[in-house]
Symmetry: C2
Subunit: 373 residues, 2 copies
């Protein structure tokens, strides 16, 4: 691969050449962008610089245009920072932010992520665990929350399946290419997720999952979501790595209690004793993550419409509506610095769009806009 390429193609190439989270490539991308990073790696490989030798073989075989075509063929795309669909909260990962995300699915990843919860747990789950994960997935989905998990056996699969059964949105963040079914028995599940939600990966199409890819993948699950729920986890479960990532990112870490006689709940109870929040229902999960998400992730019957897409006057009026109590039209207008007539017109539209609601005492923010009930 030589000659002129775009920033997107450069990042597609990096996702093929370097492992996700590779510190040297991350720094190059941070300092010089994807194109600059590709140029630096190419030069260093040409000069046979010792640090670049590890990239040489993969660089020689890389064909980002072919990868991009390949993902398009399965209904996918490559997202890079700056895209409207790039999930802005991934920036919380700091130096470990992905360079790009391969996405295969039908939903807008950014809007989906704004109103999403991770539900993760043990592969060797018990009947209790898979039952709880499936009900939780279904209830979160039916309240308009996307369920993000890792596509693995056990808790992950139950959470995805529950969300799909409730005709909701679910996202699987994979450690392999978005066109690879791993585990193979999940081929049909992944097809359903791609149809109603999204498969997401940092690694290029066709790439196989490695042990380390599962670990670095977990930080994406934690960063994409408003909070992480661990349903079942033995003391050394990989699901606890996602829990650590969520805590590191300042996202709420929630756990579902289980029998103290179950080894599959021992990891969960240790988290509980270390300060994680116990949750027993989707309502409690939403209560924990909803305050963060309420005015960031409005969701109406149609597609979501984030606040920053509002016109300036509406946004100003929206900012004048208190979050926790109702305010009169006059009070909102005064706070927003607009006339009562302007406030009245804007509030009517904001109500239709699910941002605010009116009650006997005036106007307040719709806490979980679009949620049934």
């Amino acid at each position: 691969v030589g000659g002129l390429i775009t920033e997107r193609t450069a990042r597609a190439l990096l996702s093929r050449v370097a492992e996700p989270g590779d510190p040297r490539v991350s720094r190059l991308v941070r300092e010089e962008g994807g194109l600059g990073a590709v140029g630096a790696i190419r030069s260093a490989v040409a000069d046979d610089a010792s640090w670049a030798r590890r990239y040489a073989a993969r660089l020689a075989g890389a064909d980002p245009e072919a990868d991009l075509a390949r993902v398009r063929a399965v209904g996918g795309r490559l997202l890079v920072p700056g895209d409207l669909e790039w999930p802005s909260q991934l920036a919380d990962l700091g130096d470990a932010v992905p360079w790009a995300l391969w996405v295969r699915g039908t939903v807008d990843l950014r809007l989906t992520a704004l109103r999403s919860v991770a539900v993760v747990g043990a592969r060797a789950a018990t009947d209790y665990g898979t039952h709880v994960a499936s009900v939780l997935g279904a209830e979160l989905a039916s309240h308009g929350w996307a369920v993000v998990s890792g596509g693995a056996f056990g808790i992950d699969a139950a959470a995805h399946t529950g969300a799909l059964a409730a005709r909701g949105v679910t996202v699987a963040v994979l450690a392999c290419g978005v066109d690879v079914a791993y585990p193979p028995r999940h081929e049909a599940l992944f097809a359903r997720i791609a149809a109603d939600g999204a498969l997401v990966s940092e690694v290029a199409p066709g790439a196989a999952p490695h042990r380390t890819r599962f670990l670095v993948r977990n930080r994406v699950i934690a960063a994409l979501t408003r909070g992480t729920v661990v349903v079942e986890a033995a003391l050394r479960s990989g699901a606890l790595a996602t829990a650590r990532d969520a805590e590191r990112l300042g996202r709420p870490l929630m756990v579902v209690p289980g029998p103290v006689t179950s080894a599959l709940s021992a990891g969960v109870h240790r988290e509980l004793r270390a300060g994680a929040l116990a949750v027993t229902s989707a309502t409690e999960v939403i209560e924990a993550v909803g305050e963060l998400g309420a005015d960031l992730a409005p969701r109406v019957d149609g597609p979501s419409r984030p606040r920053d897409q509002l016109d300036p006057l509406s946004r100003r009026v929206l900012d004048g509506v208190p979050a926790r109590r109702a305010a009169t039209l006059e009070s909102v207008a005064r706070t927003a610095g607009v006339t009562p007539a302007e406030a009245s017109a804007a509030l009517g539209l904001l109500e239709l769009a699910g941002f605010v609601r009116s009650g006997p005492d005036g106007w307040c923010l719709a806490r979980t806009p679009g949620a049934p009930g």
Copy 2:
């Protein structure tokens, strides 16, 4: 009943005449002692004062000497404040402190209470709950902790039985007289508890349990113990009243998680979300209550020997031993203000008595003296 009586007899009479926790009688006892309270009630009844009418019938029929004889006949006694065996921490109940406690059993209630944990929960417990309560009771007992509960069906009975099976000490605080088997099916259990531990009640021998007596009884369970563990509780379980009492007294409130699909764990999980500590084993319970109890409730192989029974020199040296780290002989002597020779002699005896232990770095307090392991 007329003529001269002792303070003890007066309190025996009060326990027959008034309900436990009766606010007016509590105030009279607080202000004038048991004898003064009896005198005041007798005068008021004689004068037909309206406030005293409720006591008249019971006063006429009361025979405290007969009650004392009756409890002696079943191997029991009446404890009043000031007795060596009176559990000093009951003072934490403030205005609601019992006037007296009827005790039937073989252990010293004060020393037992100093190293005790309440294990309470639902009567309609599940197999999971009774299993956990029984194992918890046995493990606490085998670590030298007394298990206090309410003698009811379900969790209470499992906790008592577990402690007895481990040849430990268990205490049932009853809402009826200590010679009454309620529930009747627990007659054999109560006999075993009286043989190896103690039955305790605020109400006089022969008294039947009332609904309100169960509620006021709960505060005694919470106050007698270093902390309360709730094993299973539905949302409206009476066990949660004991939890409230424990919190009010500043005692650790612990709960055992269970399946979120179980209604019998719903109350437990609500407590958990409100700040109770999750515990999954006796070790975790002891960790939560042990710091408080360590140097208050030394327990050796023989009978316990509380700190205030030590000779002044030993007590001074003991006060010079740090709780959390080891100190050299010289350091202990300096802190205690005694000679190294005096410190050395005292430390040897304190070690034999289980108060301190020596390690490679010097001397430190024995955290759970006398506990196996």
